[in-house]
Structures are given as structure tokens and as C-alpha cells.
Symmetry: C2
Subunit: 183 residues, 2 copies
């Protein structure tokens, strides 16, 4: 079983300081739709601020019981995968309850370093519950990466540039790990 | 050489009528960043409305000469790939000027049908200039699909659900066609 956590704190800001990023509507919709397409079990929106979690819950509420379900049932269906949590620990706890086993924690980064797990390696080892951890802002803080079991290699195309949005990176990660490989 | 056109008219709306969709900031940023990562030559934002094109130009202007370049040079760099055009014909004309050859037009769709080109087939045949045509709203109108040389198979994960955002679909298409395949 696959899980995704979208972490808003602690993450880097553009100056390299540790910050908290805001809940972004497009992240929720895009990552929920990608998660549902690729059979991800749950998408956790992790934010330490109660007010920001309330923003996320309000968006989800509109699609769950508000006018959204009638307006666009498919988008409503996609968002069913989403949960809002105050910390990564609570996300891990929820996933553990669901599967009976602590998920393998996989950090993501845009920087290539020694010892990273390749997409091919991870794809072949998805028999255990696995949680992909995506960072918002300018990426996950070291303290999040350090507590993970694995660090996934960055996504590279044929260029020297790999500054993808978290929405695009999340979609590509789903496709590389869970998509059909007959292409 | 690869080109992407993001078409805002004619596209379906949620009721199956032909409509014009609005310029969406997140589309521009996400698709420009994916395009630049994967070495796409140009990303065309195709919109028939002068006012909507002005919105797009204003966003691009902020990152080109406004405060955006200083604030986030990488995002500014990604947007250099972007051009705003009034029609698909003008996008094709620009791409043709650049390469000296009319690009192969490839329509995209979320619906599986007979005769579609697989990702594998297209990937092996990228020696000619190629333009991927993405639809906003609920997808490209038949008149756009009918004028294309090829229709690319939809993106499917392991589920029955494939309602990806155009930002996610664009990213996955880039990765499947232009990404490294050693995964």
C-alpha cells in the first residue's frame, strides 16, 4: 500500500531558512487526483498550524458535503483519499493503523547525492507499505530527510534544470513507481 | 524538437458543451517548469481572447522584467520557454519557423479509443519536430483532435480513475516521452 505525505513544515524557503509554507489549493486537487489515479491509499496534508489545517478542511468539506460534489463528482471522488494531519507522526500513525505495519518512509529531494534509492529499486520493493514524503516550499528540511528510511533519487529530464512543481513531481513519482511499464 | 501547446479553445466544459477556458496561473508555471526540465523547445499558451492573452503576458512580464526574476530566478528561467498565441495555427507557424518543418501534431485525451498511438511508439519516433497538444477544461474539442496527425493514448494508472489535472498529465507525458528510461 502506498501513502503520500505533503509536508508544509519544516521546509526550506528560497533563502535556505527553515520555514512553514501555506496550504495551496492546487496542491490538494492535483495530488489527490494523481493519488486516486495511481491507487495511492491516502494523501496526507501535514501542517502544524490549526488555522491552516482549517483552510484545508474547508476546501475538502466543500467537495465532500458542500456544492462541490454535485458540481464535479469526479473531483469530489478524488479528494476522498485526502486526510489533514498536524504532524508527520500522526500521518505515519494513521497509515500504520490501516496496514498494521509502519510504512517505509521515503524522502524526496531535487538534489542528487550518494546513497539515494533509484526509482527502479523502489518500484521493485513496494511489497511493504510505503510512504512518499513530498516537501513544499524549497524542499524538506534535513530533520525530515534524516528520519526517513530511504531517500529517493531526484527526477531528472535530459537537461540541467529540475525545478519541478511539487504537483508535477508528485505526478511523475506516482507514474514511475505505480504506472504501467509497458511504455 | 518537442513543443507543447496548451489550448483554451475549443475545449469541452463539464456538461459536454464547447467552451473557452480561462488562463490559469498554475498551468503556466507548472507546465513551463516541466517543459524546461525535459528540454521542450517552446510551450505555447493558446487563447483566442486578447484580454486573456494579456493576463498571460502580464504574468510572464512579471517574471521576465518585473520583480519575479530577482525573487526567484529559476522560475523566471523556466518561463522563458513560454509563448502566448491567439490560435493553434500561429503556434504551429512559430514552431515551423524555428525548425524549418511543420511539427507532427499529437492530440491528447483521457478516453481510450481505437487507433491511438502508444507512448512507446511515439517515444521511438521523435526524430521529427513534434507538438503535444493539451486541452484545458474537460478536454480538446473533436475539431482539434481531428486535425492532428496522431492521438496519444490516455495516461492510466492501475485504477479505473484517470482524471488528472492538465499540469499532472503534462508532467507525466514529458517524463514518459523525454525522461530517462533506466528506471
Amino acid at each position: 500500500m502506498m501513502f503520500i505525505s505533503l509536508v508544509h513544515h519544516p521546509v526550506y524557503d528560497r533563502r535556505g531558512n527553515i520555514q512553514t509554507s501555506s496550504i495551496t489549493t492546487f496542491d490538494i486537487h492535483d495530488l489527490a487526483r494523481s493519488s486516486t489515479t495511481y491507487g495511492v491509499e491516502r494523501l496526507y496534508l501535514v501542517h502544524p498550524s490549526p488555522l491552516q489545517r482549517q483552510v484545508a478542511e474547508r476546501i475538502l468539506g466543500f467537495w465532500e458535503v458542500g456544492g462541490g460534489k454535485e458540481w464535479n463528482p469526479l473531483r469530489s471522488q478524488a479528494l476522498e483519499v485526502t486526510r489533514v494531519t498536524a504532524s508527520l507522526d500522526l500521518a505515519i500513525e494513521d497509515a500504520t493503523k490501516l496496514t498494521g505495519e509502519k510504512p517505509v518512509l521515503v524522502a524526496t529531494t531535487a538534489k542528487t547525492k550518494e546513497g539515494q534509492t533509484t526509482f527502479g529499486q523502489l518500484r521493485k520493493n513496494l511489497d511493504r507499505p510505503t510512504m512518499i514524503i513530498l516537501g513544499t516550499g524549497w524542499g524538506l528540511a534535513p530533520e525530515v530527510i534524516d528520519r526517513c528510511d530511504l531517500v529517493l533519487e531526484p527526477i531528472w529530464g535530459p537537461t540541467e534544470f529540475n525545478h519541478l512543481s511539487v504537483r508535477a513531481a508528485g505526478a511523475i513519482i506516482c507514474d514511475r513507481l505505480l504506472g504501467k511499464r509497458n511504455i
